[in-house]
């Protein structure tokens, strides 16, 4: 997983995520990790986060 500058050739294959999308993903995915009442997410809840930030399709399926 690497950062890519505008105009730079990305690595071949895989998927590209816009930085604004990555910020939204990081907030939703990790924002609660230090909460005292943290509990593990289900696979479906994790998938919903990917969906919510627009990361949909087979590449983004967790199972």
């Amino acid at each position: 997983m690497t950062l890519v500058r505008s105009g730079e050739e990305p690595p071949r294959g895989g998927a590209l995520v816009e930085i604004a999308q990555l910020r939204a993903l990081a907030q939703r995915w990790y924002g609660d990790r230090l909460d005292p009442d943290w509990r593990p997410r289900t696979l479906e809840q994790s998938q919903s986060i990917l969906d919510a930030v627009g990361l949909r399709g087979g590449f983004w399926r967790l199972a």
Binding site: V4, A26, R33, W38
Partner: protein, 131 residues
């Protein structure tokens, strides 16, 4: 996850948040259980090397392979490490660090346009160090 495992997890995350690194812990069934549930990643000596979004600082891995999160001001100045920019931004989110610099591979997230993900989601945990 049992109450004891939740408490151990909280201790690990609090250590990462406050010191930038994992606590020294004895190898124990609850620690192994957290690893099996992908809450932490252990090395061959059962030391915590990842607790996403946090990663242990160098030298467990070379600095160039890690993402750095640097907060120079605000309520909690400090330096933390993650495995990639996603984790770096996650550290900033979890710690509430507005304005922290997240640098990965010589590029900051402010300079980048995209984040490249090479491995499909269902394979992320096949080799989490590589992912």
């Amino acid at each position: 996850m049992t109450p004891e495992q939740l408490a151990l997890r909280a201790r690990i995350f609090e250590a990462f948040a406050s010191t930038g690194g994992p606590p020294d812990l004895p190898d124990a069934p609850d620690l192994r259980a957290l690893a099996e549930q992908h809450v932490v990643v252990l090395d061959e000596a059962a030391r915590v090397v990842m607790a996403h979004p946090f990663a242990a600082p160098p030298p467990h891995r070379a600095a160039a392979e890690l993402t750095r999160v640097v907060a120079r001001s605000g309520p909690a100045p400090g330096v933390w490490h993650g495995n990639c920019a996603w984790d770096g931004l996650g550290i900033a989110a979890a710690l509430g660090l507005d304005g922290a610099v997240v640098e990965s591979g010589g590029i900051t997230t402010d300079e980048a346009a995209f984040f490249h993900v090479g491995v499909p989601a269902r394979q992320w945990w096949d080799d989490i160090g590589h992912t």
